[in-house]
């Protein structure tokens, strides 16, 4: 179970690290090399995004990665084949991230069965609130997979508790308003928000959106259980190439 893995891991580390890639960006081969480097740099878990043509919650960096991966010929089938290879090669938990239409068109039940078969542990679907997710929740449950739900700074505490009642594994807390990959202010405001998230759930909490360096991660120690790095590794890779990823991840805990 994802939750117990995370809790066990937290006995040894102050904060865990989850990283994100868009499958097939810049290429499928590169994607696999990036995962290899991230695992070597000791990341604790990863979310692999199946690209979608209309990723409304993503900012420019991840949006472009989605578009380029699709333009280069990524399909859902190729993403699953890739994911299977990743799960067989590396011994960390993986999650899928994608938008609901990808699941819907594949068939929600078939999707969950496939995720299980590949050996992934769960999924993050940012445009699927539990109110619309009855079929998804059941399929995930049937396959012992973790549906990851999201808290945001605009979510009232009562709704956080409601979301938490459907979530498994951990809760993904979005650090601020806006889309992925923009600046976040790591300040007292964020402390208060994380405390509120913590009160509303017993699940481990991850914080993402705008986490980009060691300073941000140090700030989160003792406040969140998992730091999520998304756009920053893609940005780095765009600028300095795939090989820069390993040192970057290592530097976060240096």
């Amino acid at each position: 179970m994802l939750e117990s893995y995370l809790k066990k891991r937290l006995e040894e580390k102050e904060i865990l690290l989850m990283t994100h890639i868009v499958i097939g960006y810049p290429t499928f081969d590169d994607s696999l090399r990036i995962i290899e480097k991230m695992v070597k740099a000791n990341v604790d878990l990863m979310e692999l995004q199946i690209p979608f043509s209309e990723p409304i919650a993503d900012g420019p960096v991840i949006l472009h990665a989605n578009q380029r991966s699709l333009a280069a010929g990524a399909t859902v089938k190729k993403c699953f084949d890739f994911a299977q290879k990743a799960a067989q090669s590396f011994d960390i938990p993986f999650l899928f991230m994608s938008y609901y239409n990808i699941l819907f068109k594949y068939g929600v039940d078939s999707f969950a069965t496939k995720v299980k078969e590949i050996g992934f542990k769960g999924a993050i679907v940012p445009d699927l609130p539990p109110e619309e997710g009855e079929e998804y929740l059941k399929a995930m449950e049937d396959n012992s997979l973790a549906p990851i739900f999201i808290f945001s700074p605009t979510t009232p505490e009562e709704r956080m508790r409601y979301l938490s009642s459907f979530g498994k594994g951990f809760i993904y807390c979005v650090a601020r308003k806006g889309v992925t990959g923009k600046e976040t202010e790591f300040s007292g405001q964020l402390d208060k928000y994380l405390a509120k998230c913590r009160r509303a759930t017993d699940l481990p909490i991850a914080l993402g959106f705008g986490v980009k360096d060691k300073k941000d991660i140090d700030f989160l120690k003792g406040k969140a259980d998992i730091a999520v790095i998304g756009s920053q590794t893609i940005r780095l890779m765009d600028q300095k190439g795939v090989d820069a990823v390993e040192d970057f991840i290592k530097s976060l805990f240096g």
Binding site: I56, Q67, D127, P129, F149, S152, L163, G178
Partner: protein, 408 residues
């Protein structure tokens, strides 16, 4: 939580968590306004003093004589301020924005009509305004871009994806998730997450309410059919909504582009190329591949060039209450040309799609029957596209001379 706005499985509210509270507020504001007996009065007062409501229902004597079948009436939404039915929706949402105490509005636009309408509304109410418009549309609708700028709106060309309407919607959502405290997103059509399909239809229903009264006065009976073009579906929902329970054929006409067989079109309900999916926050028919990736669409009319369609219309297709047809770019130019020459009316390229289908069916209807075509917008804004389609030599010469003047 609110009722999630389903129409027999279509619709819903597939929202990122960050927007849930914003939608709760919007639903609450809309519900309160609807149940406030003064609100509709306030809305229709604004529309009669600021826009041009009620818009006339024009009897098209010459077209009627030419086709020799049913009597043809044209509902003149082109006579609204800013030249299209879009004004109805934006003024309504402008009033709601005031009720929510917000100070900024954003909108997507395809043809630019909704953008211009939103910019006028923002100027009138004193809101800040940002308009997202696909880069392709910015190029084909330059005059509207000019006016938006003059009206004080910031126009942001969207260079993502296919660079048309759907991409502009995505960018507007991305703005909204960051700025919802101050900002209302004035979605321009009866699509998107609940309550937009219902809310936009509610404001646009003013078209059908008037048309019903006007046709009963003119003909002493209901029409045999009503024709409206369908992009997102707001003008169609607007004119159809008051005839839903009647024995009146309702016909929605989509963009057939270069022909349904060509694959280059935007026909979601009248072709076999679309399938049910979930994107941009709602469930409907989308032009998408088997993986669920949205496809490129094409239409000569920027306002119809959209991958999705109103979930309410998707539902009405399934029940058979509304029939859907497609008109090709070529047929649209011909119908436009004919309407200009015969009646002196200049429908928008979007609206001309409805004329195409009405012209196909009018001859086989009897002389004592009437039909209504919704002229959702005026065509003079399309002067560049239309002049090009007509290959008008004098216009081309004018443009060349103008360019030389500016180069000099």
């Amino acid at each position: 939580m609110f009722d999630r706005g389903y129409y027999d499985g279509f619709g819903g509210a597939f929202l990122p968590e960050i927007l849930v509270a914003t939608f709760d507020e919007l639903v609450e504001t809309f519900e309160k306004a609807k149940s406030d007996p003064c609100f509709w009065q306030e809305y229709s007062d604004v529309m009669s003093t600021y826009s041009c409501r009620p818009t006339p229902l024009t009897f098209a004597q010459n077209l009627t004589d030419m086709f020799g079948g049913s009597r043809i009436y044209i509902k003149r939404e082109d006579l609204n301020h800013t030249g299209a039915h879009k004004a109805n929706n934006v003024m309504g949402q402008g009033l709601l924005t005031k009720r929510m105490g917000k100070t900024r509005v954003i909108a997507e636009t395809g043809a630019g009509q909704h953008g211009v309408a939103t910019a006028t509304m923002a100027a009138r109410f004193g809101y800040k305004c940002t308009i997202y418009m696909g880069e392709v549309d910015v190029h084909r609708q330059r005059p509207n871009v000019f006016w938006m700028g003059r009206l004080g709106a910031e126009v942001i060309p969207v260079r993502e994806g296919t660079r048309i309407l759907k991409d502009a919607i995505n960018e507007a959502f991305r703005d909204w998730v960051a700025n919802m405290d101050t900002t209302h997103y004035v979605l321009g059509t009866a699509c998107g997450p609940h309550p937009f399909p219902e809310m936009v239809t509610y404001f646009q229903s003013i078209i059908g309410k008037e048309a019903r009264k006007q046709i009963l006065e003119a003909e002493k009976k209901l029409p045999a059919g009503i024709y409206a073009c369908v992009g997102g579906g707001s003008n169609a929902m607007g004119i159809f909504s008051d005839f839903m329970e009647d024995d009146v054929d309702l016909i929605g006409v989509e963009a057939g582009g270069k022909g349904l067989e060509s694959g280059e079109h935007a026909a979601r309900l009248s072709s076999k190329d679309a399938s049910i999916g979930v994107a941009q926050g709602y469930k409907t028919y989308f032009l998408q591949d088997n993986d669920g990736q949205m496809k490129k669409t094409h239409s000569v009319a920027a306002g119809l060039d959209y991958v999705g369609v109103s979930p309410i219309l998707a539902h009405l297709k399934e029940t058979g209450r509304v029939r859907f047809e497609a008109a090709t770019d070529k047929e649209v130019i011909e119908a436009l040309s004919l309407t200009i020459k015969k009646e002196g009316l200049i429908p928008a390229l979007e609206s001309a799609h409805a004329f195409v289908q009405a012209f196909k069916e009018a001859p086989s209807l009897s002389k004592d029957q009437a039909i209504i075509i919704n002229q959702s917008g005026r065509g003079d804004k399309d002067i560049f596209t239309v002049a090009e389609a007509f290959k008008d030599p004098k216009w081309m010469e004018f443009i060349k001379n103008k360019a030389e003047e500016y180069n000099a």
